[in-house]
Symmetry: C2
Subunit: 301 residues, 2 copies
């Protein structure tokens, strides 16, 4: 099953208690693609500026990731983000954002990707997400992410988008803001009324919650103690979820639960390094080992 | 196996989005005892003042709860607490506390309880907890609770207590404050260094985390959507945990995991009413039903 992601490609400067990195590869589409490629080939759509060094993509080239959808836009600069994590590290403090190429028009969908069946619309303006989805008539599963900016400032556009997607992946603070409901199961139920068939709420170290008409699921986070940099964990989680679903060719309730466990395993690997370093070296056996730990973690007699 | 709890018995006034109750039965020992009595006979030690109407204890009288340790102290007034929950309802805002009888000396241990084997020291000054435990030479499992007040203001006494107990049950904010570590697995590891063999961190709607030298466990919260009043949920959780452990006569790692699941099930019942109303009517079949839901919630292929 073909899986397509459209999202950001960025140059990140990140500070955590473990250190600091400058202008390293980041962006939602990058983390998503590397995570999903553990399970299925991925088509990546996104734009960079002429300041982007193509060698940064080398770690993606030996993976089943189709990079023909990366647009190198002349005269533009690449998206840049500078953030800092402190304390529990479950939320970044943004020190500086340069939207650059992201503030222009969306990256184009290559014609050869237009038959994609599984689609992930990483966070951007909901009208752009909706427009992109409309170009993929063969999609059987369209899932999107969003953020507080759109929840607060582009509510009508976001509601139009949500009425047309199958699934939504977002974090706990976003779910509370979108639903107006502090309790997350209740928040998920309210979001379902906006249209999606399922909502996955990412809760950082508390794991993830699935709310759908077919039931509820709670998958714990993998309890890594080697916490280096949370950047990209949410996108890695979504990438592994969508990659696993596409590899199975279905998204029924038990497959969604299994996919969330893969998301937890892969996100915990991303957490253990700056940028994509750990994720790009991740081996299937390590994911399997973490899945075994996750199964045991919450099994009881 | 005999299970003893010492803790508060109080008259609570509670406001939540679902309503308000005045001077209803509350206190850690009450919630603990009702929860534990689902699994094993309980011995309750606590003090009330002469303003306490003994009929308030009627819901406990048809349960296997030995009330001979309740001291009715002449000339004293009962502990009173007035709190309010808002939003996510995971933390109460205390509007008023009257310590009353709790500010005097501790309730006496009846001689017939001195052979108790499983012991829970609900939250009070750590020196009082330690003194109480020293009177129970046959105890094979001593577990305590604590709170931020003692963590911040009575650190040496708390550390002496922790060096002598087998287990600690506390909430996430307390675990972070006690350990100085924002990440909860790391917090648990640091607390183990103070002495306990295991730490159970209660995370409200995110479930609970067990950290011990034998491993980690993460048990989800039962996903009730009928959230009325969180008062006593933590004490009900601890009561069901200790009640189940005492019923099994052991506290090895798999039994602790199973006990935490019982804690989640019973705490969710407490959440569904004000005061002890739902907890006092709880049937074993309902606990079993919720355990089945909890098992499915986090099972994946």
């Amino acid at each position: 099953m073909s899986l397509l992601v459209t999202g950001s490609i960025g140059l990140d400067t990140v500070e955590t208690p473990q250190g600091r990195v400058e202008n390293v590869l980041g962006g939602s589409a990058i983390y998503f693609a590397l995570a999903a490629a553990q399970f299925v080939p991925v088509r990546l759509v996104g734009a960079v500026g002429e300041d982007f060094d193509p060698r940064l993509l080398d770690p993606l080239r030996d993976k089943p990731i189709d990079l023909r959808g990366i647009e190198m836009r002349a005269g533009s600069r690449t998206f840049r983000w500078h953030g800092r994590y402190q304390g529990a590290m479950n939320e970044a403090q943004t020190l500086r954002t340069e939207l650059n190429v992201l503030a222009e028009h969306a990256a184009a969908l290559p014609p050869e990707f237009s038959d994609s069946r599984f689609v992930f619309l990483a966070n951007t303006h909901p009208a752009l997400q909706r427009d992109f989805a409309s170009k993929l008539p063969q999609a059987v599963l369209v899932v999107c992410d969003t953020m507080n900016l759109w929840i607060e400032q582009e509510r009508p556009a976001l509601e139009r988008l949500l009425s047309q997607v199958h699934g939504l992946v977002l974090n706990d603070a976003e779910a509370r803001a979108l639903s107006g409901c502090a309790h997350l199961v209740g928040a998920g139920r309210k979001i379902l009324k906006l249209g999606p068939r399922f909502v996955i709420i990412k809760k950082g170290e508390h794991g993830s919650l699935l709310v759908s008409d077919d039931g509820l699921a709670a998958i714990p986070a993998y309890p890594t103690e080697n916490i280096v940099d949370p950047t990209g964990c949410g996108d890695s989680f979504a990438g592994a979820v969508m990659g696993y679903l596409a590899s199975q060719g279905r998204w029924d309730f038990p497959t969604l639960k299994a996919a969330m466990a893969r998301g937890a395993a892969v996100a915990s690997i991303t957490l253990e390094s700056f940028s994509i370093d750990a994720l790009a070296c991740c081996r299937p056996a390590e994911i399997e080992r973490r899945l075994t730990v996750l199964r045991e973690l919450c099994r009881f007699d």
